[in-house]
């Protein structure tokens, strides 16, 4: 009886996992696009671009995501031109799209700071060497700056991705039945919040742990130069130690 209850709860919450992953994926994907734009604007050297990105980062990092979500979902529909726009209205009246927009805008602020830091952390000597080789600015960026910066940004980026997984739960407050929303519903139906929320919590934790493992693996693969050299006459381990 008890066991059945846990099993059915986990199963119902798991059925909402695809929706959570959908919000998560699109939030991150659009966020990455916006963040790339912001980083480019910041690094381009235009004063106006710098002021804009500074203001953007200040606003989106300084206020809670919940406020941003409410502002986008409830607030923007106050404008008549939003309600009459054939492009904006279908997006902004749908809570699902609103969550994705809010998450993307929010994560872009954090990610652009991560990327800015990573770009600045690229050793100057490497860039100078590339210049001395006569590489064009684009080749230099493609072959030297970008690969090093991406590797440097990875640990902070993985933290941001995990924060995004946690943020998908906010979709439940604007009526989306993703994992958190489903757990809420079961909890209200059965009045057993501790059991239900623990089941949902286990799923969220496993999800986040696997994301963390995945990033640890990517990091391991991308930093062979930091690992100690393999012993002589010894076969390489089939599975990296981080796993």
């Amino acid at each position: 009886m008890e066991f059945d209850f846990y099993l059915s709860t986990i199963w119902s919450v798991l059925k909402a996992l695809p929706l959570t992953l959908e919000i998560w994926f699109f939030g991150i994907a659009f966020g990455l696009v916006i963040a790339t734009g912001l980083t480019w604007l910041r690094a381009s050297g235009y004063k106006l671009g710098e002021y804009f990105t500074r203001a953007y980062v200040f606003v989106f990092r300084g206020s809670p995501l919940l406020v941003q979500l409410y502002l986008i979902y409830f607030g923007l529909s106050q404008f008549d031109f939003v309600r009459h726009s054939p492009i904006l209205w279908p997006i902004l009246r749908d809570p699902m799209y609103c969550t994705i927009v809010a998450m993307a805008l929010n994560t872009a602020a954090y990610e652009s700071e991560i990327f800015r830091g990573a770009l600045r952390a690229v050793p100057v000597g490497q860039i100078e060497a590339a210049k001395a080789f006569g590489m064009s600015a684009f080749t230099r960026f493609r072959l030297v700056t970008l690969p090093i910066a991406l590797r440097l940004a990875l640990p902070a980026y993985s933290t941001e991705i995990i924060l995004m997984t946690k943020a998908t739960a906010l979709a439940s407050v604007v009526t989306i039945m993703e994992m958190m929303g489903t757990a809420q519903k079961i909890q209200h139906d059965t009045f057993r919040p501790i059991e239900v929320l623990t089941c949902a919590g286990v799923i969220y934790l496993l999800l986040n742990l696997s994301i963390a493992r995945l990033f640890a693996w990517v990091e391991y693969r991308l930093s062979p130069h930091l690992r100690p050299p393999p012993e002589q006459n010894q076969l390489a381990k089939p599975v990296p130690e981080v796993l």
Partner: protein, 248 residues
């Protein structure tokens, strides 16, 4: 043009609405948000230092508990933890009260929403603070601890005279970050019905149908709170590291 007209309308009604009493309500909201944040930070500091000590312990069991605490409470959605403490607390309280017969078998004893929210946010904050304290402890020079031991200081004396002053100094920037996180997390406890800034803005938006106005105001007020705390923590950092800077 339509956009500008809309904006003008909003601005003219904004003053009326705020003067009609919502302004005072929002100020109370700020007070509650700050109260929630401060109490949560204190709960978090207590738990965080204990968990940091556990994570640095030589005993495997304690280390495991510390690791699990920080993994779980940093890996779960904040909303889930808040629901767990609020609704879970109600479940436990009701169960206990029903079994002792202090309420009828169909009555429900609700978790006080402030207590539930503060516990949840405090425990999340504690997970982040534990990492801050652990990092600060690891930044203390080993030689100083060895020197203190060589002087024959007891563990308590070492903690009081060598470890704690330095951990506090090194932890200030990290605690500033956690403070900002906690302010933002405190907005989530509006779901349990604590009348802090977010819930006040919500109520105002629903009852006046001016959601844009009130959510923008709430956003601005959160920005003010987070940006005011930056110079305060900078000051605290200067104060705590005053013995490490050259006098002018």
């Amino acid at each position: 043009m339509e956009f500008l007209n809309d904006l003008k309308d909003q601005a003219s009604t904004a003053y009326e609405l705020l003067a009609a009493g919502w302004g005072v309500q929002l100020l109370w909201g700020i007070a509650w948000t700050l109260a929630v944040t401060v109490v949560s930070m204190l709960i978090g500091a207590t738990l965080g230092s204990l968990v940091a000590a556990a994570k640095l312990s030589h005993r495997g069991g304690l280390r495991f508990i510390g690791e699990s605490y920080t993994t779980v409470f940093r890996g779960e959605p904040e909303l889930l933890i808040i629901y767990l403490f609020y609704y879970g607390g109600t479940q436990v309280l009701t169960g206990v009260a029903r079994s002792t017969g202090s309420i009828g078998s169909t009555d429900i004893l609700n978790m006080p929403s402030f207590l539930g929210g503060v516990l949840a946010v405090g425990i999340i904050s504690g997970a982040y603070q534990a990492e801050v304290f652990r990092g600060s402890f690891l930044a203390i020079h080993r030689g100083e601890l060895e020197a203190a031991r060589a002087y024959g200081m007891s563990a308590w004396l070492r903690f009081r005279l060598v470890i704690m002053p330095q951990v506090l100094r090194l932890a200030v920037p990290g605690l500033g970050n956690v403070w900002q996180l906690t302010i933002k997390d405190s907005a989530l406890i509006s779901v349990t019905g604590v009348a802090e800034l977010m819930l006040t803005a919500n109520k105002a938006a629903r009852s006046t149908h001016h959601s844009l106005l009130f959510y923008t105001l709430a956003g601005i007020l959160y920005l003010v709170m987070t940006s005011i705390s930056t110079p305060i923590f900078d000051r605290a950092e200067r104060y705590t590291s005053r013995s490490f800077t050259r006098p002018k």
